[in-house]
């Protein structure tokens, strides 16, 4: 405090005057890389365009088409189901692994490294590797991951769990290690059972980790794209009587991508509208979830 008073007037003013110099590059990068494309993206969702430089404003038509699209609604349902299932599986298993690896068993560090490793492989590569693994097994049963939407769904869940458990595990380990030793000791002295200690002391104390992990796995589940593209690409399709396919394992992000590139110029705006709806959805779900889990956190 003392230092601030003595040096404050001489140093603070020039520092403040130069603040733009320090802030500038970051703000500029943020605007160029995020704010401007974001605004342009929203504008384009109201346009019909082939190239983004000559877009033609058409109002809410794109949103109407997007909401009327059966494949988009199906993708939403599929994605929501996938996000919930993967959220539960990833977090329960990651927490269990983290708990096991903080009990001081031999080789903990090796296990942590090994469990974390799948996370270092890119999604596309992972998708192709797993499609080979799944098909090696499924061919014995005369089927394929591309032929049955249930297989496709669980294939995606296994893939994403395998990839993300290690990452969430690291966060949980950090949280578990931060649980104050004295609280655990006090619980023991007070005669709390193992389960009681776990639910009344450990869990409330790792709530910040749970918040961040559930947030990450939920939004990751909704945003999943490359694994989806590489593993199933939306197959199998059911072909409706009108001849249009509904892609059984297509998730929202892939649906948007396919709308943008698979069809012609009249659908680029529709894809853009879907992307805006997608953003609102993911942001809303993320915020609601953050709000609810935050309330359960305890102050140490």
């Amino acid at each position: 405090m003392k230092r601030k008073i003595t040096g404050g007037y001489t140093l603070k003013a020039p520092m403040q005057r130069c603040s733009w110099l320090f802030m500038g590059p970051v703000v500029a990068a943020f605007i160029i890389g995020f704010v401007w494309p974001f605004i342009q993206g929203i504008y384009l969702s109201f346009c019909k365009f082939q190239l983004i430089s000559d877009a033609q404003f058409i109002g809410f038509d794109n949103y109407k088409t997007a909401l009327a699209d059966a494949s988009f609604r199906h993708a939403f349902g599929f994605t929501a189901l996938f996000a919930i299932v993967s959220l539960i599986l990833i977090n329960v298993i990651a927490f269990a692994v983290a708990y096991a690896l903080t009990q001081g068993i031999k080789g903990s560090n090796l296990f942590r490294t090994v469990f974390f490793m799948p996370n270092l492989i890119g999604g596309i590569v992972l998708g192709y590797i797993w499609s080979m693994i799944f098909d090696g097994i499924l061919q014995r049963f005369g089927t394929s991951i591309l032929l049955d939407s249930k297989l496709g769904f669980w294939g995606l869940v296994i893939l994403i769990a395998w990839q993300q458990i290690g990452y969430m595990m690291i966060i949980y380990i950090a949280g578990l290690q931060a649980v104050p030793e004295d609280m655990l000791e006090a619980a023991k002295i007070d005669g709390a059972s193992r389960w009681q200690t776990f639910f009344k002391v450990t869990i409330p104390n790792v709530m910040p980790s749970i918040t961040i992990c559930t947030f990450l796995s939920l939004t990751n589940g909704f945003k999943l794209f490359d694994q989806n593209l590489a593993l199933t690409a939306g197959q199998p399709f059911t072909i409706g009587p009108d001849g249009l396919p509904v892609k059984q394992t297509e998730m929202l992000a892939l649906n948007i991508y396919n709308t943008f590139y698979g069809q012609n110029s009249s659908s680029t705006g529709v894809a853009q509208a879907k992307a805006v709806l997608f953003f609102i959805l993911v942001a809303a779900i993320g915020l609601i979830q953050l709000y609810y889990t935050r309330r359960k956190e305890v102050q140490q």
Partner: protein
Amino acid sequence: MKKTLSFILAAVLCMGMLSACGSSNSEAAPADTATGSVYWLNFKPESDEVLQDIAKMYTDETGVPVKVVTAASGTYSQTLNSEMDKSAPPTLFVIGNQAGAKDWADYALDLAGTPIEAELNTDAYNIYSEDGKLVSIGYCYESYGIIVNPDLLEKAGHSLDEITNFETLKAVVEDIHSRAGELGFDAFSSCDMDSSSSWRFTGHMANLEYFYEERDDGGWTECPAELKGTYMENFKNLYDLCINNSTVAPTELATGGHDSEAEFKEGKAAFFVNGSWEFPAVSETVPNATMIPYYCGVEGEEKAGLNCGTENCWAINSKASEADQKATMDFMVWCVTDPEASRMLVDSFGVMPYKSAAESTNGFLAAANEYSNNGCYVMDWATNYQPNVDDYRAALVAALNQYNADQSDANWATVETAFVQGWGAQYKLANG
């Protein structure tokens, strides 16, 4: 110490920013030259090497800068979309089918009456927009059908002359397949349905249905709003023959992973469904390989020829500067008239339909010509009319996967729905 470190960090940051600026500057530079420059967005990865050489040759000869960028396999439309939006967009790009003509007609120069059009020896590969503008012209054409290894046929006690229609093809194929163990090779090479191979069926073989339907209609000039599916049975004939008499069982095709070309080259299969661009690779080990038409049980198919057409069509960017347009036109004319350049291009592409271009050395295109000379009809590429081509084909692949796993009538009905009703539905989407 800390000061030095922060100085170094700051310097690194600045350099990063400067280099980022630098790269975009250098990209834009060629467009500023007064004489104009050429930027060719190529869509065939396999031709990239030779095109880079051609570009260098032209620049060395004339001093006009030529840049060739090749889109990664299967991403041409994405790349074109983003490149066209840049300050130095491609001056030369590819409009390969009617769907492309619909999307890009506004960006294509009308090529009617231009020097490059005057060099053409046929107008068979011209693409017109809906309002009759000549948006692109073929720079090469290709043929597809069934590639055959005549030596293996002989080994199995058959000969190429036996095969004149579906009945005879079927007899030979089924005989070879039934004795595959004893012969050491099978009839057809694998028919994978992954994205690296499925187009051989959803793009090429499907053409037999479109072509015969088109012929009944007296020729198509634009994408028909609906398909009748008159020849679905014929498509099924040939498709079934392929998947059921092949090195790989039909139930194992969905995720792919087999190398059809290698199987044919190594003599493990006598038939290989593919096109003329395979000739350089295939002729390495099977120099006398030839190509036969898609025999499928249509009346009078003894007179069928190969499927000839192209998706390799040049379009000039109408929004490029006049100097660039002229430079591009000069470059195109040079490509098809310069003996050395056209030799290199023809060896890579197969054949170029221009008066003074080099002669073709491609055995499969020679076969195509022989059929024509014997009075057989050319099966043109009606497949180029497929509406929303990527989505349409993806649905067809999914339906074929179900059928391959279980060849029931119900599953074939789904294939038919994707094939016939899918066309109409995608047409409606595309034409809103």
